[in-house]
């Protein structure tokens, strides 16, 4: 009874309020105004630090890069005359640009796919009841802490063409040495190895965190049902990690398409090989901007890279949505 009494009159009485008396109306309207304002604006205010930061560090450079890409622009000399889309037309006509697109995707696939798979396996192993668990968990993160340049130094010694350790082993075993710095695919493999070395442990920890969030009851039930460890991994762990896998795939896609450090330190001149065997898009941007001092063209490539990443991210998103909804149905 009490409940209906309180609820019932609400809306009709409010609507009939104005004619009754001006004083009460004004006070009520004001506080209403404030609370309305509060409800509408406060949430935006609370999240505004992110957007302000994003506008300064994300949006502004993006827009400014677009502006630069429409001009002749020298690194030191600064802004030149407006050229419209000329920089884009020029860059797209360059064989080096398309070569860089190919290399970027090749290195990205060679690094991301094994990385996610191996990270999953490592995470599963770390999730098991190990002795000195924390030690092993910290251990997988060690390569991530090593600076990419240092990684480059170490791997350059391994992958040197004539006197490198790997080729030394190969020739000792009677095999032909691999020409790491002259063959495209070989150089991509070497660079992907460096990337995997650094990032696999990092991804493994993310997977591990997600795995620990899975209720142990599920595994108990699976054990009672007679599922072995392997079966549990494929039928329980992996499906339940789906959102995390999607997250890791998307972040590693974005990182993979912007790959720079590892290929840059793969040789001394850092241009991606004499025949541009391993020049990636970001390295091409760097060559145009800092080598040739042409910021207009470098910005044009930067924007094209941005568009490519947006496209891939959209593609990723669609697939992810599909997988997620399938997972829900199951």
């Amino acid at each position: 009874m009490a409940v209906t009494d309180r609820v019932k009159p609400r809306s009709p009485r409010r609507q009939s309020l104005p004619p009754e008396g001006t004083k009460g109306v004004r006070r009520l309207a004001f506080s209403q105004q404030v609370s309305k304002w509060d409800v509408k604006v406060s949430p935006y205010l609370y999240i505004s630090p992110f957007f302000i930061l994003f506008a300064i560090t994300g949006l502004f450079p993006l827009v400014y890069t677009a502006w630069v890409s429409l001009h002749n622009w020298n690194l030191i000399g600064g802004q030149g005359k407006f050229t419209g889309l000329e920089n884009y037309a020029f860059v797209v006509a360059q064989p080096y640009f398309w070569n860089a697109v190919g290399n970027t995707f090749s290195i990205f696939i060679l690094s991301s796919v094994p990385q996610v798979v191996i990270a999953l396996v490592i995470a599963a192993v770390l999730d098991a009841n190990l002795r000195a668990r924390t030690f092993w968990r910290m251990g997988v993160l060690v390569p991530f802490v090593v600076a990419p340049v240092a990684v480059g130094l170490i791997f350059n010694n391994l992958f040197a063409d004539q006197f490198g350790l790997i080729n030394g082993v190969l020739t000792a075993a009677g095999l032909d040495p691999v020409r790491w710095h002259s063959e495209s695919v070989a150089s991509h493999l070497a660079i992907a190895t460096m990337v995997n070395f650094r990032w696999t442990g990092y991804n493994a920890l993310i997977f591990l965190a997600a795995m620990q969030a899975i209720l142990r009851d599920v595994f108990e039930a699976a054990t009672i049902d007679g599922a072995g460890r392997l079966r549990q991994f494929f039928s329980v762990t992996v499906p339940m990690l789906r959102p995390t896998v999607i997250f890791v795939v998307i972040t590693s896609t974005i990182g993979g398409l912007q790959i720079f450090d590892e290929p840059r330190v793969f040789d001394q001149s850092g241009l991606g090989g004499a025949d541009r065997q391993w020049q990636t898009l970001t390295m091409y941007i760097w060559e145009l901007g800092w080598g040739q001092r042409n910021f207009g063209r470098a910005s044009a490539v930067a924007w094209l890279l941005f568009l490519i990443i947006v496209l891939i991210a959209l593609f990723n998103f669609l697939i992810a949505k599909r997988i997620a909804s399938q997972g829900g149905r199951k």
Binding site: G78, N157, A160, A274, D275, Q277, R293
Partner: protein, 430 residues
Amino acid sequence: MKSLSKFSVLSAAAACLALSLTACGSSSPEKSGVNGATGSEAVTLTVGTFNEFGYEKLFDEYQALNPNVTIEHKKAATTNEARDNLTTRLAAGSGLSDIEAVEVDWLPELLQYPDRFADLKDPAVEGRWLDWKAEAATTPDGKLLGYGTDSGPEAVCYNAELLKKAGLPTERGEVAKMLGTTWDSYFQAGKAFKAASPDSAWFDSAGAIYQGMSNQLEKVYEEEDGTVIATENQQVKDTYKQVLKASTEDGLSAHLKQWSDDWASGFQTGAFATTLCPGWMLGVIEGNAAGVTGWDVANVFPGGGGNWGGSYLTVPTQGAHQAEAKKLAGWLTAPEQQIKAFTAKGTFPSQKEALDSSALLGQTNAFFNGAPTGEIFAERAKAVDVTPFKGTKFFAINDAMQQALTRVDVDKTDDAASSWEKFVTAVKSL
């Protein structure tokens, strides 16, 4: 309004302070000259260098002479790193050191922006450097933007043990005679070596030899008016062909890209018998060939004299202490100090007076079988008669050329003709 006026008063005060600082700064060097020690205000000067300039002890000395000056040294590992740092901060308009070292090959592009560097012309340093050294840092309207530090007169370094194995002469003078004064005679000697000792190569890489040969051309890639002639220049084409013929057909090259890990290891494994060496290369060879005996220097360079590399000290105008920086740069590049830098790290002087100094001429190098390196390189410096014109695109075109040579010599992904085509495309896209 109130806060605004406060702000404007403050900024006006700051401007006055800045003005008075520069005003007082610009008058002081005349009083003190470039070698004296005056001034009482405490100043911190940052100096940006790369590789090895041999300045560490000199900084201590200068600070002892000028108690008000504190020097901060920022050392980049490679010239490329230093160049990136310099151009980025030049573009940003802040963040450069008070003194920035600049390598001769990237000086031309900086000469386009004379406003960004202080004019270092000073009666006290007139005639200090070899003419070609000072000319390279002078703008068309006569501003001097950099004080010359070292230079890179080239000789030929050789591994006497390998020559001995091949039954060739090993004594410095005889080797010089055998190498001869032309590139043809140098390659000829290489063929004789290769015939007797097929497991080793005559030189390290096509790129290095090309560097030596092209530094003897008056015009390499550009005309003085900026026209790019790289792809039509017959001399460049001939040099390219000659180097690659010697490298591939005659098999004289060890196919090692300079500065690569393979190249560094090549010194240990005796992969090649000779390498062109400017003075600064001696330290590099000694480092890479540690523990290997037999390296020596022959007082000869094919095709006349040649200079490879060398640097300058500049004073960017964005610095707050330009006068003090100029004084320090002047002191560091004075002949006496340059000799000390040479003794420390083997950076060969570009100062006329330093070339006659007994400290320089008496210098020997134990690693290179006690070779009189001071005397040899002083003679090599005087033999330099051509310094190529280097325009604003030199650095980029030379990079493309080195890659063209690497494709044929090291990677073996192209032959000379197809690699040249790619070079032409690369130059066109600049």
